[in-house]
């Protein structure tokens, strides 16, 4: 079976911060239409890796290809313009702005007609309506006022806002860095459903998570990250969770078959 | 002497006041004429003493022969002036005498008290009998009240016949004719706002003292906007060209004209003479400084107050 070209590919990526090595010659592949889970210990370099492929940091060495073309993103905006939508672990929300403002930051909806075209006036009512709708889809029923500042939200509510934003606007690739870490049981389940939804629209997804049951439930392939590099890739249908945990904590070395994946 | 050009320094209070710009012009012209290498320095705002100290230190370091100085803090500057004189540098105070006056080798000055006194006397004569019921607005410089501010203010009041009490302190007189003192920072905007406030305190003001001509222009704007332009007489000090123009236009009644350009070029000449054979300039007759003169400029000359015409003022403005 010949593999298709990866949508997003990284080869030999290195990122050092002074004395600290965050990514150490790591590779990365995301194929069309798949859910790729990335797992690894805390500090293994997962977030750094996806920051490198989404333009949030510029790697010291290595190559990144989008649909086979070499790219060099100097900023997250360039990556976003190329269709890569990312929910970062620190969420990237503006604390003092309202939920609706945050969801539409950088792609606001303008009023129709003169007001919008010439005065560039925003359509607040519409943005608030859509924001409320997206949050309800995620089951975040405890958000009492859509005009609340994001800094007044609970940790989980905040994460919900960030995930809703990415899901609503992603066009080519969606990257989620621990999207359910602060979410409750119900809200996490909704996010997993949303991810499957998105995949069924044909978009590939990168999911970083420490929740093994979730990962094994929805991932098509699992990228195991350890000490700044891709240790191996495993198939959740063949491998057991205990293997995955053993691999990422260094309790076990990867087998041949895994490395080839 | 050994082919090296003579070095001289000019240190002024600020570089934003046209008065000091003229001074610099005079010095530069003369320096060029006599082949002197001139460096100029200035404080950032009126009263910026530390910058002047640093300037003098730099002059010492640069090996200057003489320093022309308009001091911001006339008492405090004496220490560094002594250092300079100890190095054999001729220090001439321009415009403002140091305290004590012999802290400098020589002083080329207008008498600022005299300048104030002249406009005071003129105003008194102009108002005539009304002078007893005058309502006077005093537009001063800054809250820190540097010595020009005090000298002109107190000179004006004593010229007008107000008992100034302590001549070193602004605002301690008890004469009811003085409506109030406000500060202007010596510019138009400050003059206008200060005048507006004083007019509100007493709309009958008929005599306005201003620290300089920009403040006077601002005061006139305020009077004009209150519809009182004809009610009050404005007097001022400096005699800069726009100021004399304003006297001509009737905005200002009279102004005391000073001659900064002359002060500075005389200063340069003195430094050259000193560098040649060590002669120091002599004070004017009966004074402890070299008087460079002050003239009242007005076309409305008053009995007993010597003055020159506006035309003459324009010819000589800051000459």
């Amino acid at each position: 079976m010949t593999k298709p070209t990866p949508v997003l590919m990284g080869r030999g990526i290195v990122k050092r911060y002074g004395r600290v090595t965050a990514i150490d010659h790591s590779d990365f592949d995301l194929y069309p239409g798949e859910i790729l889970a990335v797992i690894g210990d805390n500090g293994a370099g997962k977030s750094s890796l996806i920051k490198a492929v989404s333009g949030a940091i510029v790697p010291d060495e290595g190559e990144i290809r989008l649909n086979g073309e070499p790219v060099r993103f100097a900023s997250p905006i360039e990556a976003r313009d190329a269709g890569i939508e990312t929910v970062y672990q620190q969420l990237a929300l503006s604390p003092a702005l309202s939920i609706a403002d945050n969801m539409f930051l950088g792609r606001e909806i303008r009023k129709p007609g003169f007001l919008g075209t010439y005065l560039r006036m925003l359509d607040r009512a519409e943005m608030e309506r859509i924001a409320r709708e997206k949050l309800n889809e995620l089951g975040l029923m405890t958000i009492q006022s859509i005009t609340q500042a994001v800094e007044t939200l609970s940790g989980g509510q905040r994460q919900g806002v960030a995930v809703a934003r990415a899901a609503a606007f992603g066009s080519k690739v969606i990257i989620l860095d621990e999207p359910t870490a602060a979410l409750g049981v119900k809200e996490s389940r909704k996010v997993l459903e949303l991810i499957q939804d998105v995949r069924s629209r044909g978009l590939p997804i990168v999911l970083i998570s420490h929740n093994m049951p979730h990962v094994f439930e929805i991932a098509d392939r699992i990228h195991v990250h350890r000490l700044g590099k891709r240790l191996c890739v495993i198939d959740p249908k063949q491998a057991a969770m205990s293997d995955a945990v053993a691999l990422m904590t260094g309790a076990k070395a990867p087998e041949r078959s895994m490395e080839a994946a | 002497q050994d082919g090296q050009p003579i070095k001289a320094c000019l240190v002024t209070k600020t570089d934003i006041n046209p008065f000091f710009v003229k001074m610099k012009e005079g010095a530069s012209q003369k320096a060029q004429e006599l082949g002197v290498e001139l460096s100029t320095y200035a404080g950032k705002v009126d009263g910026d003493h530390e910058t002047q100290v640093q300037a003098i230190e730099s002059c010492i370091a640069a090996g200057a022969k003489g320093i022309l100085l308009t001091a911001s803090d006339t008492k405090a500057i004496t220490d560094v002036v002594r250092q300079a004189r100890d190095q054999g540098i001729l220090v001439i105070a321009l415009d403002t005498p140091l305290e004590p006056i012999d802290a400098a080798d020589a002083t080329f000055a207008t008498d600022n008290f005299k300048a104030g006194e002249l406009i005071g006397q003129w105003a008194r004569a102009k108002l005539g009998a009304e002078a007893e019921n005058a309502k006077i607005a005093m537009l001063d410089l800054t809250p820190s009240a540097p010595s020009v501010d005090v000298l002109r203010d107190q000179g004006f009041l004593s010229g007008f016949g107000v008992d100034v009490k302590d001549a070193n302190v602004i605002g301690d007189e008890e004469d009811p004719r003085v409506v109030g003192h406000e500060v202007t920072n010596g510019n138009e905007e400050g003059g206008r706002t200060a005048m507006e406030s004083l007019l509100q305190r007493d709309s009958g003001i008929n005599l306005v003292y201003t620290i300089n001509e920009p403040a006077a222009a601002g005061a006139y704007e305020a009077l004009n906007s209150f519809g009182l332009a004809d009610q009050a007489v404005i007097v001022s000090v400096d005699g800069g060209c726009p100021g004399v123009e304003n006297v001509k236009a009737g905005v200002i009644g009279a102004t005391s004209q000073q001659y900064p350009l002359q002060m500075a070029s005389q200063g340069i000449e003195a430094i050259v003479a000193f560098a040649k054979d060590g002669t120091k300039p002599q004070s004017s007759e009966g004074l402890d400084f070299v008087n460079t003169g002050v003239n009242l400029v007005t076309d409305d000359a008053q009995e007993g107050v010597p003055s020159i015409s506006v035309q003459e003022g324009l010819d000589r403005c800051w000459g």
């Binding site: 503006s94 604390p95 930051l105 | -």
Partner: protein, 356 residues
């Protein structure tokens, strides 16, 4: 290690029955005090207004002249220029920056407008337009230094303050262009000093201009994407970057806009001063920042309403005017101004606290 997963094997099954209504709570009806509190909580801009009203009343009691329509409109005239500068300053402060160059830019551009029309005889409208263009350039310089060279705004504008001040002195030769000359050759430059009557109060077009500028900025900041981006950048620049805002472009836009507003202030200042003076408004930098802070905008960016600085500027004007009217000695004016700044903001903070 006890193993509990068996029991919870499909513990998520019950989720389909979960509640789907948005959370809502009863609110007991509040007394008048509670209502006031609640109102202030929702409208923090009203807090400086209360401080303003309190100080107007206080000065009204002290000095009888204070409360006339005439005096109140005079205060507005005195405030107009600093108010317009405060508007420019607010934009920059909202992005967590600070613009120390506003006063220097204004002074320099008023000189440019004046020299162009009086000395070169260029028609006033053209001279004004050139002035606006120069204002935009000063803003562009600041903006490029802040975004491309990544200098802190404080340092950038401290540097450009010196530069523009030097240019101002150079271009003007430190000489004032007299009121009479302007009247003769370029009366339009004094446009914003023209007075008109409004129900007993005399106002200048400069005051109207100030109000219009604040209204326009309010619209931009609250009703357009550009405005929301300004808040987002001031709030957390990194987050704004990551969420895909073109922060550099927005920041440059802010500085250019601020420069243009300074140019507008320059025009208005000629009307206020009556002449083109290269030394007036030297103090306006600090005053504009004071107005912004008293108006409740955080120096750390991202928080506060643009209407605050308008009120803040008026509060400062009321203090200054009230103290002068009361005939306080210059020295004690300085002293009282110090305390009044502190007390005004303390009251503001206190009202915010009890209404939180």
């Amino acid at each position: 290690m006890s193993e509990t997963t068996g029991k919870g094997a499909d513990y998520e099954a019950s989720l389909k029955d979960s509640d789907t209504s948005v959370a809502a709570f009863e609110h007991k009806s509040r007394g008048p005090l509670g209502t006031a509190q609640h109102f202030l909580h929702g409208n923090p801009t009203m807090v400086p207004v209360i401080v303003l009203v309190m100080s107007v009343v206080a000065f009204g009691l002290v000095s009888p002249n204070f409360f006339s329509a005439f005096n109140l409109s005079l205060i507005m005239q005195q405030v107009a220029i600093v108010g317009i500068l405060a508007a420019a300053q607010s934009l920059v402060i909202l992005t967590a920056g600070i613009d120390l160059s506003v006063a220097a830019v204004m002074m320099m551009i008023s000189v440019i407008m004046g020299r162009l029309s009086v000395e070169l005889g260029i028609p006033v409208p053209l001279a004004v337009l050139i002035g606006f263009a120069c204002g935009a350039c000063t803003g562009l310089l600041n903006g490029l230094l802040v975004t491309k060279i990544k200098l802190p705004p404080f340092i950038t504008t401290l540097g450009t303050w010196n530069i523009f001040l030097a240019l101002n002195y150079y271009l003007s030769n430190r000489e004032t262009i007299r009121s009479q000359t302007l009247d003769a050759e370029a009366p339009l430059l004094k446009l914003f000093g023209e007075r008109f009557n409004l129900g007993g109060a005399v106002l200048t077009w400069g005051v109207v201009l100030m109000v219009v500028i604040f209204a326009v900025l309010w619209f931009i900041l609250n009703r357009t994407a550009f405005g929301r981006h300004i808040y987002a950048i001031g709030d957390d620049k990194e987050a704004a970057d990551l969420s895909g805002i073109r922060t550099d472009r927005t920041l440059i836009g802010v500085y250019v806009l601020s420069g243009v507003i300074c140019a507008v202030a320059a025009w208005a200042s000629i009307g206020r001063v009556g002449s083109v003076s290269p030394t007036s408004f030297f103090e306006a930098n600090l005053e504009s920042i004071t107005a912004v802070v008293i108006g409740g905008i955080s120096l750390f960016g991202g928080r506060g309403s643009i209407l605050g600085p308008l009120i803040g500027a008026i509060i400062v004007g009321v203090f200054n005017s009230g103290l002068r009217l009361a005939g306080v000695d210059v020295l004690w004016q300085l002293f009282a101004t110090g305390w009044l700044i502190i007390v005004a903001v303390a009251i503001d903070q206190w009202i915010r606290r009890i209404s939180a």
